[in-house]
């Protein structure tokens, strides 16, 4: 009964706006900016590159954000997970890139800060960084760890 009454909105939308097979713009792809020095001229070009993540992507079953749907409880020592949300200079990626919900984005940015302070991602730091955590200034050179239960998010 219920199914009979339910109006087929999706079918209507599909009929009104059929899938466009022709594309007017070049297909969007992940790009990397490369600088090549050829003699006296410097060539700066945007090259299409594969992200290399497709074969290893986790499959999500529901409409939640990637972390909520995976049910992971990420710790600040899980650098293999945290480094996926970080640029090459160690900054957290914005939410429009990560696609996380507000809560998980906040939590992940705190985890990134914790991992950086503990010196667990020394290869993902700004170019001016000394890289080695033991060369940091003052008390920051000594080992420290963090408690994830201190992360307070609404």
């Amino acid at each position: 009964m219920n199914t009979l009454l339910k109006f087929n909105w999706q079918g209507l939308i599909k009929a009104a706006f059929p899938l466009r097979t022709l594309s007017l713009f070049p297909k969007l792809q992940l790009k990397e900016i490369q600088e090549v020095q050829e003699g006296k001229s410097l060539i700066i070009k945007g090259v299409n590159v594969p992200s290399g993540r497709e074969p290893f992507l986790l499959e999500t079953e529901n409409e939640l954000c990637p972390i909520c749907s995976s049910g992971l409880e990420v710790k600040h020592t899980d650098v293999l997970i945290i480094s996926q949300f970080v640029r090459s200079d160690g900054c957290m990626l914005p939410r429009r890139v990560t696609g996380l919900c507000r809560r998980q984005q906040k939590r992940m940015s705190i985890l990134v800060a914790m991992a950086q302070k503990a010196g667990l991602m020394p290869n993902l730091t700004p170019a001016t960084s000394k890289k080695d955590p033991k060369k940091r200034f003052g008390w920051k050179r000594y080992n420290k760890y963090f408690d994830e239960s201190t992360i307070k998010i609404r």
Binding site: L57, S88, M121
Partner: protein, 178 residues
């Protein structure tokens, strides 16, 4: 049976030498574990008047870890006895002067102040790195399990391990790599 009992007898009355790797361990949590071995609290023959404690060798005490910003919050007090002789030293300052002292004081303060405490501390051998004199090392017959797992840095993984680890997100198609 008699032979087993005899060995049990030897094991009970022998002074066992333990080794403990302090890298990435909280010294105050470790002190609660180490004091059991130093005082012999785990032995069936334990009694406060019975000196049955073991020796403990602690290595890598320079690599101990404190939670959060405790390196600048924990303060060690000393008074020379003269007027104006009070001094307060931050934990990281003390650790810079002598990388064994924070752990040594943690174990010392974890035990009750009685006449045995100084003698119990004599059985604790702390080394800032993993270099232990061979004369001590050849006595060791047990390793004490670490309390918290040692974190692995991102640059210690191979490139293949990082690349083939399951990925949670993919970068969007209109993103420019930086």
């Amino acid at each position: 049976m008699a032979a087993l009992k005899r060995v049990q007898q030897w094991a009970t009355f022998a002074r066992v030498w333990h080794i403990f790797d302090a890298s990435w361990q909280n010294p105050f949590e470790s002190a609660q574990v180490l004091k059991k071995y130093l005082m012999g609290l785990y032995k069936p023959i334990y009694h406060p008047m019975n000196e049955c404690g073991d020796h403990v060798i602690v290595i890598n005490s320079a690599d101990i870890a404190l939670p959060g910003d405790e390196w600048v919050k924990r303060v060690y007090f000393h008074h020379t006895g003269y007027p104006g002789g009070a001094s307060w030293t931050l934990a990281w300052d003390l650790h810079k002067k002598d990388p064994t002292l924070v752990l040594k004081k943690a174990v010392y303060n974890s035990m009750d102040g009685n006449l045995q405490r100084r003698y119990t501390m004599e059985r604790l051998h702390i080394f800032p790195d993993s270099k232990v004199p061979g004369a001590l090392m050849k006595n060791v017959s047990n390793q004490i399990r670490q309390i918290r797992p040692m974190p692995k840095r991102l640059d210690e993984y191979t490139e293949k391990e990082v690349k083939e680890f399951p990925k949670i997100i993919d970068l969007p198609k209109d993103y420019i790599l930086r």
